[in-house]
């Protein structure tokens, strides 16, 4: 009888010890999240970037993981009623997920279409990302044709194109993002130009314009 009791006591102490330690570890994790000490999740990096950019809470529309470019980088496309934001974030062991940069486009409906270009380079690679993103407010615009040209290589030739016909809908906006993955023999020589053409439902051309540069980041 006393053996049974002592064994039961051991079992209880084992469980109690495990639960106490787990609770303490969870409390520390909670503390680290609360004090922004470690980015356990990419969404924390997004929230930090929202604070830093001075925008209201955004809704995530799309996450891009491009392992062929970098294994620890994510791109979040998010928007609220006023802006569209493309956040690049990285992970490292010591800091967790942290935001690198986020171009923000004001999307208040005053322009029929707002588009930005965000370039990301990696110093140890010859690959290069040109992210084209934005929002369409004009209901007449049914599709977009995006084209990227490297003027250093061929001023008249188009390096890559993309037809955007499907949009992500949120907060009353039609939002899109497309990453162009480009390779260069010498990325330092590049001179990128992004052009956008807008089309009606019947395929009629509305207008074309050069996409303004919204920022660039070197991801080390």
């Amino acid at each position: 009888m006393s053996d049974h009791k002592s064994v039961k006591k051991t079992e209880l102490s084992r469980r109690k010890k495990a639960l106490r330690r787990t609770a303490a570890a969870l409390a520390l994790v909670f503390f680290m999240v609360l004090t922004n000490l470690y980015g356990f999740l990419p969404i924390q990096a997004l929230r930090n970037q929202e604070d830093r950019s001075g925008v209201r809470r955004t809704e995530t529309l799309r996450r891009d993981y491009l392992p062929q470019v970098h294994p620890f980088t994510l791109f979040y496309l998010s928007c609220n009623e006023d802006v569209v934001m493309l956040t690049s974030m990285r992970w490292n062991l010591l800091g967790g997920w942290y935001p690198v940069y986020a171009p923000v486009l004001d999307c208040d409906g005053s322009e029929p279409v707002v588009i930005g270009e965000y370039s990301v380079t990696y110093s140890d690679l010859d690959r290069y990302i040109v992210y084209v993103f934005g929002c369409v407010s004009d209901p007449d615009i049914a599709s977009l044709q995006l084209s990227v040209t490297d003027l250093a290589r061929d001023p008249n030739g188009i390096s890559d194109t993309c037809q955007v016909t499907e949009f992500l809908e949120a907060e009353g906006h039609r939002v899109f993002a497309h990453p162009f993955l480009l390779s260069f023999e010498d990325a330092r020589e590049r001179r990128i130009k992004v052009h956008a053409d807008t089309y009606r439902q019947d395929g009629g051309w509305i207008r074309g314009f050069e996409v303004p540069w919204s920022g660039s980041t070197s991801m080390g």
């Binding site: 064994v7 084992r14 469980r15 330690r21 570890a25 520390l28 503390f31 004090t35 604070d51 001075g54």
Partner: protein
């Protein structure tokens, strides 16, 4: 006694899920139990060796006892305890080594309580010519603060200008302050003409600081601070110290 020790070892060999400390405790408890029983038998007339033998035999098969005890030592809780212990240690070490990161929270608190007046971030006290003010506007999660005005700041050419000291901090000391608040602010005169605009500040994620100076048009005793960025608008008239509140 060697007989008891052998018995205890045979039992403990089967209790595989127990830690060395738990095995020691089992061994101690079994030995005490056997000794009590042997003593009882000795007091009823048995000799020492026979009493010990009888006590061991009364316990039953040591392997069977060991297997039964092993079931009472669940491995899952032990693994969880060890893993969470290791995690706890790791997190404590991490927090210890990242204590300097709390500097951001310190800067945030300093910005809201006692901001810097120096030309460089976090240095210097308020010069005598600075009038301490405390205008604060909440813009989203961050707060823009005008904490000093120098109505007669002389520039390099000897012209009189108004100098404004601003800082921005997040309402939560552990979160990032909006950089936009020290970058997208425009200063207007009473007719709505742009006097000057901010282009950024210095600091870290806890707080951003900046100062700016501009000449006021003749006869004007204040200026308007205007901010319109990413869905937030702010338009506030700031009178020079000692002047009327609004034009």
């Amino acid at each position: 006694m060697e007989l008891f020790e052998t018995f205890c070892q045979q039992v403990c060999r089967e209790v595989r899920h127990a830690t060395p400390e738990e095995r020691d405790s089992i061994r101690r408890e079994l030995r005490d139990h056997l000794e009590d029983r042997a003593e009882a038998l000795q007091s009823s007339g048995s000799d020492e060796e026979a009493a010990a033998q009888a006590a061991v035999e009364a316990m039953g098969d040591p392997a069977e006892i060991g297997r039964a005890m092993n079931r009472q030592y669940p491995l899952g809780w032990l693994i969880l305890s060890r893993l969470s212990g290791a995690l706890l240690l790791l997190l404590c070490l991490y927090i210890l080594f990242t204590l300097p990161l709390f500097g951001s929270a310190y800067n945030n608190l300093r910005c809201r309580i006692s901001p810097s007046y120096g030309g460089r971030f976090m240095s210097g006290a308020a010069p005598e010519s600075v009038c301490l003010t405390d205008y604060r506007w909440t813009v989203g999660g961050s707060v823009l603060r005008v904490y000093g005005l120098e109505p007669t700041h002389m520039d390099a050419n000897g012209d009189s200008r108004v100098r404004v000291y601003l800082c921005a901090y997040n309402r939560n000391p552990f979160r990032c302050a909006s950089e936009s608040l020290v970058r997208d602010v425009v200063f207007l005169d009473e007719s709505g003409n742009e006097l000057e605009r901010l282009y950024g500040g210095s600091g870290n994620t806890g707080a951003w600081y900046t100062t700016i100076s501009f000449p006021l048009p003749e006869g004007e005793n204040g200026f308007t601070l205007y901010y319109d960025s990413h869905g937030y608008q702010l338009e506030e008239y700031i009178p020079l110290p000692g002047e009327e509140a609004a034009p």
